[in-house]
Symmetry: none
Subunit: 210 residues, 4 copies
DNA sequence: TATGAATGAGTCTTCATTCAT
DNA sequence: CATGAATGAAGACTCATTCAT
């Protein structure tokens, strides 16, 4: 609109075009997998919803599984970032264990609240290659290590087996959160749920070792 | 053609035979689904392993999904029975909360330790019809109701929102137990795991309400 | 039609049925490959022409290539039998070299005259697995060995390197015969062709060594 | 924009550039077809190896088959030239029939020894249009005519049906030579092979008519 | 003219399901 | 009721070819 002479009058430069296509495919795949599941979500459905030809899909992804895998990687990435955020926020200055757990649970709920069905498809229905499986285990392990360090640095924590505690904490939060988000209609408010979960973890961690 | 003597002197009455066939099919389906997953476990595989023709399978089951559904129902049945056992055992006479939780967690671990892969397939890979979904929720709700009653009757319990507590307890035990059984290689022994889980629940329930 | 009570009133016993289907598929495959070549001859074409469903084709053949392979095996079988016939006929009693060659060339022409296009497709267009390749080489080698023995037993033969001679003879007959049959419209009668070919071989073999 | 000076001072005139491109494509096609066969050698492979875009390939060739056809024409051209060379060399002055055949066979072996796989692909895998088929027959016919003339001019030749003889000679040399080059592992040296083949032809041609 | 992203008809193949025997 | 050969809809994927830039 200004006076700058467009050197490249293409609306979308070539390179951009493919990125747009790839993103459209991934977005479509997310929607299709979410609504139909992995097995019933065909590559033709995905291409159609993305508004591209089936050929374009296979130009950018070697096969159906790889589309799902990219989605999984994205999901793991987001999870890792969120987790890092929480840790960063918490690491700045001393916080009470309650505050830390509160942040943690809050972030987890938020994360799972987004697209729970898609996450389920991605995590349970997609056949995970060995690498993907290992990557996912690795991501969880990293979370457990981080939590363990958090526990170590907190004077309120009184359980002795911190590895076991980290295992319990991470998996409890993960699983309960997921369950809460999926098990939709409840007489249990999100606020209440978070409070109970934090309470449980807090009492567990601050209790004398068994 | 002679007298009244049965023309077909089979040892097992008609009804028996079909029961045997149905059981064979279900057993075969369990094995096939366990080893190959739901999608890759074909009805022909099942029939073959059951030692019956594919036609017979469709004599007793309208489609593939219904085979899986019966397996799911069986699984829920077993779970309910186990749960009832625990409740019965506990209801006889007063027990400490720790003992109750110990029984509960112990039973759950035992239950999940049996055929975790099949359970995963049944619970996560099989597409659940709305009815099945509701049935499963109903079963869980029943468990929660029972747990709530248990909590009500225990003087040690100090949380106030017993519904929320029951929700937390049931789902935590369920999810953590499953995760523990599936997430195989660990430096965490089953004994230790149970102890930690029970400790967490115990402290949660016996703590003052939040 | 007689009085024999048919114990099995099926028109075609079960086992026969599948044989009929398989034969229909093979016959159809031969026709389809002959008319469209291997690459353009689709399994759907074959099934359609055979009057069976595509599913039936894959019930009896694991993939497209295996259909062609069975055709190739049949072809090799026929070739081996024809060759054995010629050898048998010739081995009975002493024959002049001319007679032997005459039989040989005659049989070869006859063999190649049948379905030259299909043979070409089978031999040149179908991707040969290593085993198939070896099998084909083996068959040819057997022919060469047999011819060599024939040459050894003929007093008229004067070439010294009988292995080389057998190689030359077998391949010349094979190739020329094929070429003759394929290179259709000629001013060269089949009779004349055979005569010339036999003459060439005869003079070659009965000439003094080079 | 200045004076008459070429606006586009490229070193290679337009026509040259396309010739270079076309040659690159043909060379690439030869390599790709040789290594992957006709069906599996995609136009994208060819363009990529040629270092040009797929669009450029279709700028110069209407379709995949036409690329192969140009390669076939080249091959025929080379064959014709080689053949002409042999004839020219031989036509200078009188030669013994043995010498002539020796030259002929030698040239043929040499020719087939170069790129036997590519030749096979070009001759057997590429679907030949009617025109191409006719062109190939024409080329062979020309060879046969030339050979017939050669035979006519040789006093050593004693077969009477020179057309038939030319047919036999040309095809025998062609086919046997090809077979020899392709049927790799042998206890038959190239020298020996050539000697035997020449001997056969010599005896055939110098023998009294049948 | 060159480019290469996009196209989509067309392959092979699978597997739940039917039905004649 | 049992059987299992037959069915065919549907899916993943390829690649020659086009055309907007």
């Amino acid at each position: 609109m200004a006076t700058k002479k467009a050197k490249n009058p293409r609306k979308t430069p070539r390179q951009e075009r493919s990125r747009v296509t790839v993103d459209a495919i991934l977005e479509a795949a997310a929607q299709v997998f979410e609504s139909r599941g992995y097995a019933a979500g065909t590559t033709n459905h995905i291409a159609e919803r993305a508004g591209v030809s089936i050929g374009s899909l296979y130009q950018y992804f070697p096969d159906k599984e790889s589309v799902a895998n990219v989605l999984i990687e994205r999901h793991m990435q987001e999870g890792a970032e969120l987790f890092a955020d929480v840790l960063g926020h918490v690491g700045q200055q001393p916080h009470s264990l309650a505050t830390v757990l509160d942040h943690f649970v809050g972030a987890m709920v938020e994360m799972h609240a987004k697209n729970p069905r898609l996450q389920h498809v991605l995590l349970e229905e997609v056949p995970h290659s060995h690498e993907m499986h290992e990557a996912m285990r690795g991501e969880k392990r990293k979370a457990m290590v981080a939590v363990k360090m958090l526990l170590e640095s907190s004077p309120e924590v009184r359980v002795t087996d911190l590895s076991a505690a980290a295992y319990i904490v991470v998996n409890t939060v993960e699983a309960l959160t997921h369950e809460f988000v999926v098990g939709a209609p409840h007489d249990l408010s999100r606020r209440r749920f978070k409070k109970e979960l934090v309470a449980m973890l807090l009492r567990y961690l601050s209790g004398a070792s068994v």
